[in-house]
Amino acid sequence: MKKKQFLLAVAAVVVGAGIAATGYAMATPSADFHELGGEVYDDWSVFRTRSYGDDGFYQLSDTTFRPVIAFESLGDEAALAYEMGQEFAADYADPEARAEALFRFVRDRVRYTPDIDSFGYDEFAQNADELAEIISKNGVGAGDCEDSAVLLAVMCRGAGLRSAIAVGNGHTASLIYLPDYDKTSTLFEINGEAGWVWAEATGSNNPLGWAPKEFLGGEVAVYEISDETAELRAPPAEPATAVAPQSSGGTSFSLPSPFLLIILVLFLLSLRRRRRRRYT
């Protein structure tokens, strides 16, 4: 009987978790989309279901990239996301406080949800206005790293802050130019210009300025966001690069050797006592 009750309780928890998980799959694109060969492209002829290629949403190749999807919400196309950024500019006079508020907004309002759950595709990027519209309607939206990065970069532009998008190791995030920001130990340089703060909005506990170790101690491809048009022009031959010169070294702890060394030292310490007790 107890076994039965336990199994029922486990089943209830699993079903509850399943319902909660599927609750995240609520995002629906608002713009017109077209399908071609199992892939989806939008009115700007940008494919949303792949990042790579001349018409991919990041125009990613082996050597360079251009986050064209961000330009669907800037310049002449600026709409809700840009306006929301402008509202932050009106509310926060100090650029650092403004950047922190924008970062918190995107971090807390975009719940990390893989594209396969939201759209049924392994990859599906939302532009900043589509995600902003869902957030303004529901209070929260669902998206993964490119959705958060693009929304934050566009809103920063609306708020009068310089922003960039970084990409590497199958991940992407934003950078915000705050040269006097002293709440982080890691300021990035983009092509020699220091003062760029990493904005990792995918983890719900991350503060502005915290950067994943994968992006420390090496070069990361970045693209500064400006009011470009969303036309599919060729990306630059070489992307700009961001480096974190004052990082403590992203590879120093990449092997388990310090961990194993400490385990060994602690173990030897405890043996020392045992041996001493045995002979006294």
Binding site: Y24, D115, T172, T202, L266, R273
Partner: protein, 161 residues
């Protein structure tokens, strides 16, 4: 090819998160167990492991301390700064965090013992060794340092490095 973010369903992300926490709990419990043995070795006049089983209350305090330690580790692992979307293997087997936790733990352990010995010398009217007279007192002492270990591990897990 060139996918950005995890091409896995949400439940897989949750499973990865749980796996990371479980792995960290085992790693931290191993460290805490070795820490207890090391503390025992470095404070030879306080025989924690010999006295702890002499009183049910001490044993209860030891178990309670371990629960709090494991709870602090789980809280630290669950609330640590994280980039969701990076490689699953490096997310679960995060050697950099393991190294950081181990180094922080060992240094804090040594500093804690040094401070204990200094305070013992500075307070001659409070004989620290008197706790040997009562297993319950040893139990409370052990309970305290298990929480001390837990707090160290929590801090190491949530450090922004």
């Amino acid at each position: 090819m060139f996918e950005i973010g995890l091409a896995t369903p949400y439940w897989m992300v949750v499973l990865m998160w749980v796996a990371r926490i479980v792995v960290l709990v085992f790693i931290c419990t191993l460290l805490a167990w070795l820490g207890i043995r090391a503390l025992d070795a470095l404070t030879p006049n306080i025989r924690e492991r010999e006295h702890i089983g002499e009183s049910p209350l001490s044993t209860g305090l030891f178990i309670a301390g371990f629960f709090i330690l494991v709870g602090l580790v789980i809280h630290g692992a669950a609330t640590a700064h994280t980039a969701v979307g990076i490689s699953p293997v490096s997310f679960i087997f995060d050697f950099r965090t393991w190294g950081l936790v181990a180094v922080s733990f060992a240094i804090s352990l040594l500093v804690g013992i040094a401070i204990l010995k200094i305070v013992d010398k500075l307070t001659p009217k409070i004989p620290f060794l008197s706790i040997n007279k009562d297993p319950k007192a040893v139990g409370i002492y052990v309970f305290g340092y298990l929480i001390f270990f837990g707090l160290i591990l929590h801090a190491a897990l949530t450090t922004p490095l």
